[in-house]
Symmetry: C2
Subunit: 175 residues, 2 copies
């Protein structure tokens, strides 16, 4: 399954850490890229490139000007579009259905997502109906969708690897 | 099961949104409170109180001066302590064991957590061995531990309630 994230309306100052966390979740939880709209943010892009350099993989962060156009293209190519929102249908009610698709674009908004995104999405999905965090929602969505596959994923070209340990930190250098 | 979060080393400026997201995740995912250390942050506390006022429940955010003392008291009262870290043991390896406990303190660090927290914790637990987000790690931990119970939780004294909807937003006023 191919998963990409679309992060809407990034604002450099206000969202720098939240959007970085979201991109890192995308990378760690087996998405292949994160598109983002709003402010272009070279620091965000550099940060993720740096993590790829250390821990491997080739997760991409790509700025897009026209997210609606991106969504339309995605759908034309046979992909489905899932919008995470506390107003949507509980994930657990439709998770089996979602596992049938081979290509998912996961839209992650910030405050006040315009109506068009609710309408253009194939699924509006909630991770509880409470206000919390788009980072948490994306992580739980991906963990559930992948049934924990991300716990066992190895990244290609990693220079460092963590060896799980009951106490302390074990980080080994691979190159 | 009673779950509390201990957020280490909050810094008002840098962490304001990240710690707020973490507290909201704690609330939405059935923890009863979040202790925090570092900078005292009235805005954080007010924000969570405001969410309780709208969406119900009585999730508490409590500043602590001495987190190590808090941990020791927690253990003396028969609680166990779980520290979330990318260096720890994969959650999936010990989740069944964790479900036997009735009282869990979940430590969520920021950068550079001192060694004592690794040593004093009963479990150091990872949500993948990749760097990502303490918000995501806490959410996946709680979702897995509770086996999705948070999807069906109703909050007492809520003034507003979201009604899940395939398109659009349905928010009903209860009082």
């Amino acid at each position: 399954m191919e998963i990409s994230i679309l992060r809407l309306f990034h604002r450099v100052e206000r969202d720098k850490r939240v959007t970085t966390h979201l991109a890192l979740v995308g990378r760690a939880f087996c998405a292949s890229k994160m598109f983002y709209t709003g402010d272009r943010d070279k620091r965000l892009e550099d940060k993720i490139r740096e993590v790829n350099g250390r821990f491997g993989g080739n997760f991409e962060v790509i700025y897009v000007d026209d997210p609606v156009q991106l969504i339309k293209c995605w759908k034309e190519e046979g992909g489905i579009v899932v919008h995470l929102t506390m107003y949507g249908v509980p994930l657990l009610d439709i998770i089996d259905e979602l596992r049938n698709f081979r290509k998912i674009l996961l839209i992650v908004g910030s405050e006040k997502v315009p109506r068009i995104y609710y309408e253009i999405s194939d699924y509006n999905v909630s991770i509880t109906t409470q206000p919390h965090s788009e980072i948490a929602a994306a992580a739980v969505f991906l963990d559930r969708l992948l049934e924990g596959k991300e716990f066992y994923t190895e990244f290609s070209n990693a220079r460092y690897k963590v060896v799980p340990s009951p106490k302390g930190k074990k980080l080994i250098r691979l190159d």
